[in-house]
Symmetry: none
Subunit: 289 residues, 2 copies
């Protein structure tokens, strides 16, 4: 019988490098919902992972088991042990170190997400996405000293999705130039979290005066920009750190990207294909295997 100090999950991850392509594919499938998938018949596991039956048999042996039944037997032992002693081993959280900052931080972030999502009006969110998807209007994305990373993240994805797009860094003193061409009805997505920035507020004021629509991502205390904004989203950002967390805001941004992408499909498709071609040509990326 195999070493009892390591779970099968651990061992699979350790060996991940020694595995072949099909075996790695299988390994990920096993870990995907561990341990349930490994407790079914070998053939089910194989077809779930889109590999052949012998591949499973071989990998199980590579992991040090005499055969699949022995592998399953140990999985069941693990499960038994875990049910008996739920805290001890690998409760999907980082290894039995309940007070590790990783765990405390993660708890805080999940809590933030849940709180934030609880306060968001799905209709307002959809409206904001519709505004961001309107290609008749120019879309401006504005971030501050730290938040410009989020702005950039949104910008990069929007670039593949729609034209008429500008990323303004409010920290740059060149920003007033960008506002010259703003038309009534143009859309601004602004990011402003605490240590709210004067430049962002000024920029928002000017944009507002010019008749632009403002969508604001801010924190639970809300940037002063929110008084001008048509739609604002407040994220909880407090974590056990001297700094604030942008994770929840990023989640909202990513969801917005996905939604806008759905709204503008068709167009997006062509743009993405064009992008792919460009990247292939510049050989910036490796082929994904």
């Amino acid at each position: 019988m195999a070493d009892h100090t390591l779970t099968i999950s651990d061992r699979i991850q350790q060996k991940l490098d020694d595995l072949t392509r099909a075996e790695r594919q299988l390994a990920h499938s096993i870990l995907e919902n561990y341990p349930a998938s490994g407790l079914g018949p070998l053939s089910a596991l194989a077809s779930d992972a889109h590999v052949s039956v012998p591949t499973v048999a071989r990998m199980v042996q590579k992991l040090g088991f005499k055969g699949y039944p022995e592998f399953q037997a140990e999985l069941r032992e693990e499960l038994k042990a875990k049910v008996k002693n739920p805290i001890a081993k690998h409760d999907t959280w980082a290894d039995g170190a309940p007070e590790h900052l990783l765990n405390r931080f993660t708890d805080a972030v999940i809590d933030n997400i849940r709180h934030t999502l609880g306060q968001i009006d799905p209709q307002a969110f959809d409206d904001a996405c519709a505004m961001a998807a309107d290609t008749d209007k120019h879309l401006y994305v504005v971030g501050g000293r730290i938040t410009h990373t989020l702005a950039e993240y949104l910008f990069l994805h929007m670039q593949a999705i729609r034209p008429h797009l500008t990323h303004i860094q409010s920290t740059s003193n060149a920003w007033p130039h960008y506002l010259l061409d703003v038309q009534e009805g143009d859309v601004f997505v602004l990011f402003d979290v605490r240590r709210y920035e004067n430049n962002t507020l000024k920029l928002a004021e000017i944009a507002h005066e010019k008749g632009a629509k403002l969508i604001l991502f801010t924190d639970q205390w809300r940037s002063p920009v929110h008084q001008l904004a048509d739609i604002s989203f407040s994220s909880r950002i407090v974590v056990p750190s001297a700094w604030d967390s942008a994770a929840t805001t990023l989640l909202l941004v990513e969801t917005m990207i996905a939604t806008v992408q759905n709204l503008t499909w068709g167009d997006t498709k062509d743009r993405m294909e064009a992008l792919e071609t460009m990247f292939d040509q510049t050989r910036l990326f490796r082929k994904f295997t």
Copy 2:
């Protein structure tokens, strides 16, 4: 298929009175360490409970299953659901719109976080943070086309925490210049997620040759850089979107920032005060009220 609101455990207990002596004996054995024992072969279950093989077969049918395999399949489904769900519990989710993309996306992200954290070795994480906190060595932060936003995020915070810090964009063709001064023992934090980038790999290779330590943030399929890396962290990044999610990786980065900050306190304090003063002087921020 059977009723999905009741677990098999529930159903066994309900039927307990209608069972015969041998069956009751078996039932108790199943509940004894549930669900592990039910996931083994029928004959093992029979001998564990000191009943005959046909008794097991008969009882499983009494519980409403067509046969033992079907019974096991449902046990596995239960297990899958249970592993997935111990925390989730959607009460505070976005207003009664369970199928809204916001909710589906959030579910996916939380799932990704849990999965990712379950596979991280806290010790490796601490080691990586210690490396990133070592001010005797130069720290390089490297991102790719999309991931440079994460790299920038890390860079901005590290800037307040420690000196000897460089942000390299692997997409820029100026990056080879940055590597000229790399000393043995210098530390690289690299970001590379799928559509892995050739430039990042090359950069990592050169840095590795020069004797630098590499810390890698990648995805579940792992960038080829991971073979060179001293420590890697793989995040799950799949969400209901045409794009991947960076939220989990951001969570790790933020935790790393907090940890490094703790490790270097003292120094950091002075640096942060200096920064505050600078910002006050440039009147970039509003006073936080």
